[in-house]
Symmetry: C2
Subunit: 176 residues, 2 copies
């Protein structure tokens, strides 16, 4: 455990806040912790016709296009299931009649409290009622399990939540 002595708000932003906290370590020594506080995200592994649907989008922070499972930030008042349904429809035009919780985890607990909830979505039905976000530019494609395993070996899947979701689903025999 580390005991908080004082906190300094460095920045309060749109998707994250940054704090510099002074703490006492178990050794008795004082230290600082830089902490990014974040409202959390939800990601969905969509499984249809024995294929996984992935989206490819530009990620400014890493200056690259990444293949990822559909995901988004929780809106205020939304449950994780509601965020999962909304994001899946927005990004893929499919509504999941079945959502099964796969796991939840901290993306990088060394400096952030961001938590990511992951669901497997099955029994998908088309839903074109909502227009895509005008400022989201994404490619949507579906891949067999074998193709994705090859992409992982080739280093073509570089996003943590996507690696967690796919490998956990494979390990639990959910992509058979």
């Amino acid at each position: 455990m580390e005991k908080l002595i004082s906190t300094r708000t460095i920045y309060k932003g749109k998707i994250l806040d940054l704090y510099k906290d002074k703490v006492i370590l178990p050794s008795g020594r004082e230290s600082f912790r830089e902490v990014v506080r974040h409202r959390g995200a939800v990601a969905v592994l969509p499984w249809i016709n024995r294929e996984v649907i992935l989206v490819k989008q530009y990620r400014y922070a890493v200056d690259k296009y990444l293949w990822e499972i559909p995901a988004g930030l929780k809106e205020i008042g939304e449950t994780p299931v509601q965020t999962a349904q909304r994001e899946l429809v927005e990004e893929t035009k499919y509504f999941p009649r079945k959502l099964e919780k796969l796991v939840e985890f901290y993306s990088t607990p060394g400096f952030s409290d961001e938590i990511i909830h992951i669901f497997i979505a099955t029994e998908l039905i088309e839903d074109t009622s909502k227009n895509a976000d005008y400022d989201e530019f994404i490619e949507v494609e579906s891949f067999s399990r074998e193709k994705i395993e090859k992409m992982i070996l080739q280093g073509k899947i570089e996003d943590a939540k996507t690696l967690v979701a796919i490998n956990l689903a494979i390990a639990q025999n959910k992509l058979n």
Copy 2:
């Protein structure tokens, strides 16, 4: 792609820097991106006597003790292999005679460029030459593959890099 117009340095810290960048989206609209820049980390899945060694430590950002594979930040001038060797000895007192690259990925590309390199470490030999970091308080324990699979199902492994490493190693039949 998004084109940078101007960048504002919010904070330059010990383990991370924060920038607020003004960009032009493909639609032509202007927007802001909050980006946490980070020097990257290395994590190691140590496999010995058909067990995985995990460490349990307090994570201030999430105010919890988490079970994780050994990991640490890259020191200046270190290669990922050197960081892996150093961190494994510091945290577990084992030196890996064999390190095999498993994957590298972005922990949370929606707001950070942090990259994590993961290795599987085998042929471990004891190395008690280095003292543990005075301010690191960790528990070290080894677990069978079956035990860890159960911990994952029970939600007891909550760290992204640890979930990536273990599930990828299982999916690739490296923990047999």
